[in-house]
Symmetry: C2
Subunit: 377 residues, 2 copies
């Protein structure tokens, strides 16, 4: 195996692949990155058993400056190897393999590092029967950004660490809930054939890594099989295992009516919540109080040890019944951050029932954040 | 006590004072910041018992927008209070004290936070007899930057965690050593009267904090007493306790002759050292080898588990005897970083004796970095 390549193009691909590689793995070879060299391309693979990323660097793409001498393959310690490539002095580097050692040369520098054979590296899953659909990268990024905040980070109910994706006709519905809050995003696909109704649960962690790879991409092909989801875009293939089990029914949790409504600029509310949470974060229970009284809205917090905070909100519209409701400010702040730059509507029923936050004028719960209040009495 | 002030000017001063405040202190009140309000100015004080910082905001300085209503004082929990000020919505804020509670208002937001009386806060040391001299802020920053790297971080020999400052005539000499390496910087003061010979040991940690406050400053007055050093610049007074004890005699450690000399661009050598240290950091002992042979210089490293590295150095000049010398690359890299942008000379005697790194053409050891080699045979 021997090739030379443009160092910057190589670093970009190595960085992307390394998102799947963890140093804390129970399978030692997964700390390595796999290099497969054919007559036409160099394929990089990284995996942590949950997600795998494969990137192809083609000789036909001139920016890669990929010159293939002898095809072959090797796996190399990822962090160490990538660090070396980043620090090499010249514009290109040459990598040649003798036995299980890789010789890397670039300008005046040369490294020999020990690797392991490709045969010791786990195979990527093959998708036999799968459903496939296409979505724009921007839509997929929005789905992920608007839902990942409510995915649970607790392993006590593993199913809730996932994003529940339902495909139905030309719609994708994504839902997450950690049982204290819920996020939902429904998008309509354009220029795609209708699919049969199907649903999968993808680990939110995997979606998080996927999101960071989608920057600057155009279309994404999604392939779903019984236990894997695969996302194909540009020269990248992203594999994620699926979570097994039944996701809880969430539609019935979303209130369909409201008795009090508050319409306000998301950034203004976010600023007030940030200030109030400075106090609540210092207190024993992280709770703030929203008071709606005679068309006026006020946020407040009180902690005997630390002090008090009060802020009158400049709402665009306050309608319905008076209300006093307590909640965890972090949940509302996360929800508002996702809707930043917009006017939002907060819709309440009683101070014991969940309330929802939606962009002004949004219908059919297409962009919805739900928060369960905290009972303080 | 009641005043209003420009929020940005207040934040800048709070940030600077907070450099002296640690949340890990054995004296609880030192987690507070002290505010003293006179008829003309607001004085902020922070301290961690080792260092103290005092900053004065004057009503006569219009950028402060300081309007003094009622003089007085209070101490407030520093992190919490500064966080609140940073998040307030308006351009100015008003702070008024009732009993031990501070009421902070700004725009639509208002906070009440609990404080403690000024009387419970330790007094800053008063300097009775002290020597005083003036130095430019830029010179002081250079002294700190060029010496702090060799100060020890081990508390086993506390004296070595300091910077040894000797004033003699119109010269300041600063020396640090952790017993593996040594840094020395001598500067000649301009426009200052000659001082009597005196020497003090200032904790390197204190100097580190001081360095970050000196940005944009002009002249610094240094006052030295038996157990305190005080630095006065702009509206800031910086106090540091001194380390007690005798600093080791270091002049005799510096070799006065060389049998091998290497002249090279600091950045080029630094890059090669960085690459070689990628390998040495993965190895059991963090050592790289410099080989000088027939006018050629080469860096190399070898680790049975990890691999090998080799790099031919592009030196400007290599003179003297052939040499093979091993050293900790981190020490040399730190030394080169300090001299970045310059051509440096490395001067060696044997592979068991310390070698020195100086800027090209520097004489009298005015800017000197010394590194002890590692014996590998």
């Amino acid at each position: 195996m021997k090739f030379s390549i443009n160092r910057q193009a190589f670093i970009k691909a190595l960085n992307d692949v390394s998102r799947a590689i963890s140093s804390r793995t129970t399978i030692p070879i997964l700390t390595n990155i796999k290099l497969d060299l054919t007559d036409e391309e160099l394929i990089l693979t990284g995996s942590n058993a949950d997600i795998s990323i494969k990137i192809t660097l083609e000789a036909s793409d001139t920016t890669n400056q990929l010159v293939i001498d002898t095809p072959g393959g090797i796996t190399l310690p990822a962090t160490f190897f990538i660090n070396i490539v980043k620090h090499l002095p010249a514009e290109t580097l040459t990598l040649s393999v003798e036995g299980l050692q890789a010789l890397i040369t670039s300008g005046s520098a040369s490294f020999k590092i020990n690797g392991q054979p490709v045969s010791a590296y786990p195979k990527l899953p093959e998708l036999s029967e799968s459903k496939s659909l296409k979505v724009s990268a921007a839509q997929l990024v929005e789905i992920i950004a608007q839902t990942k905040i409510s995915a649970s980070t607790q392993e006590s109910r593993p199913i809730l660490t996932g994003i529940h994706l339902t495909l139905d006709g030309n719609q994708i519905k994504a839902v997450t809930t950690d049982s204290h809050r819920l996020s939902q995003r429904i998008v309509t696909l354009t220029g795609t054939e209708n699919t049969e109704k199907t649903s999968v649960i993808i680990p939110a962690k995997a979606f998080n890594e996927l999101q960071s790879l989608l920057d600057g991409q155009n279309r994404v092909e999604i392939k779903l099989s019984a236990n894997q989801a695969v996302f194909v875009f540009g020269k990248t293939t992203f594999y994620s295992r699926l979570l097994e089990g039944n996701y809880p029914e969430t539609d019935r949790l979303i209130p369909s009516e409201a008795t009090t409504e508050l319409q306000i600029d998301a950034a203004a509310l976010s600023g007030a919540i940030d200030r109030a949470s400075l106090l609540s974060h210092e207190s024993r229970n992280n709770v703030i109080l929203l008071t709606i009284n005679g068309g006026q809205a006020q946020l407040s917090g009180n902690s005997q040890e630390v002090g008090q905070v009060n802020e009158n909100l400049t709402a665009e519209k306050v309608t319905g019944e008076d209300l006093e409701i307590s909640f965890n400010p972090d949940y509302v702040r996360d929800a508002l951050r996702v809707l930043q730059g917009k006017t939002v509507e907060l819709k309440f029923t009683t101070n014991l029932r969940p309330f929802i936050i939606i962009p002004e004028g949004e219908t059919d719960n297409k962009q919805l954040q739900l928060v369960t209040p905290v009972r303080t009495f």
